[in-house]
Symmetry: C2
Subunit: 216 residues, 2 copies
């Protein structure tokens, strides 16, 4: 398939580029830094890189591909752009079924505990929360926005609490509850996330909902 | 003040143009039909008309004015554009305080009855609802979206159940409950709406919330 990855040079995005290439897909990697794009495996003829801001993607740009993965990341001070980019992509693709949009959301919008409270409320108790809480807060707003979208082919994916670099390991899958493995760890490597997303792209199991993946 | 009105030729928009001019404001009227714009009081030097789709409004366009009123209307088949236009305007104005954005929302997002259910659920019981229910449904989604926006200067306004043409009459004001007057009627004329909005623009009483107005 033709897969476009927004934020392709980040932790999640670069793992996705590698996994998609490994599976033989045609990959278009978008990012704002030419220098960072050059560190992707650009010797692979299946990879195309573009320096392009995602807010300039038109309907025609998007419809040139089968799947668009939004792995956008930005500074906490601009975290509202998570919402605005989702709204931009959705607005370009109203009343279409292709491309499929895959949004990487944070763990904050997952539920946890016996009372099923939002995990973002736990994150907010971190002594350093003020410096980064805007990111999970806005990724929750992004999911709230997406849940009202019924005429675009979208799916959301959340990692577990600790989203970290690393190769894929066997995975746990869930829907809206924060996952914890048998060792009581709640983590997802970028590799595990990439495998789960490529599995979902190749064999769709979720439609207009968010699912979650964790390291087993 | 400089006031820009999106959807200026519609029932709400044209009443707003007249009321804003009557109060001595500088008005820019935007609409997609040049023919309909020509029916506004274009002999008034305080009125400027532009044929312009609202989705093309840039940050610079918007910041040339003090207030932008979104009185956009469209066909029920395109009702999702209510959400998309709100998202577009918000994205252009993140982390600003001016212009103020005023959104005319439907009555469907108001609560009614002892159980405070959404009025859109009552609207859905109309035998002809299938032909128009997408409009109140998407105006509810628009309000849901706006309620997550905390870094733009916005306010929403809902009419009562029957939003109809007509001159201003004395008004009832509320917040999130559908209003009914002493005669058990729930209606708002375009003139009453225009007066309530211009009052709110001149003397702000609401910030990042929705209020409602009805004919007394």
């Amino acid at each position: 398939m033709k897969i476009t990855i927004i934020g392709a040079t980040g932790m999640a995005g670069s793992a996705l580029v590698n996994e998609a290439l490994r599976r033989g897909h045609q990959v278009t990697a978008l990012a704002r830094s030419e220098e960072k794009l050059a560190k992707l495996p650009t010797d692979n003829p299946a990879l195309t890189t573009h320096v392009q801001g995602a807010f300039t993607l038109s309907t025609a740009d998007l419809q040139a591909t089968d799947v668009v993965i939004d792995a956008f990341a930005t500074a906490p001070s601009l975290a509202f752009q998570h919402v605005d980019l989702a709204a931009h992509l959705v607005a370009q693709l109203r009343e279409t079924t292709s491309p499929r949009l895959v949004f990487i959301l944070g763990a904050g919008s997952l539920q946890t505990g016996d009372d099923h409270h939002l995990f973002v409320d736990d994150i907010a108790k971190d002594p350093n929360a003020a410096s980064f809480i805007s990111v999970p807060q806005n990724q929750l707003k992004e999911l709230n926005f997406l849940r009202d979208v019924d005429n675009v082919n979208w799916v959301g994916v959340s990692p577990a609490a600790n989203f970290h670099p690393g190769d894929a390991v066997p995975a746990l899958l869930g829907t809206d509850e924060l996952l914890v493995n048998a060792q009581q760890e709640s983590g997802t490597s970028a590799g595990t996330m990439a495998v789960a997303i490529l599995d979902e792209i190749e064999q769709p199991q979720h439609h207009q909902v968010r699912f979650t993946v964790a390291d087993k």
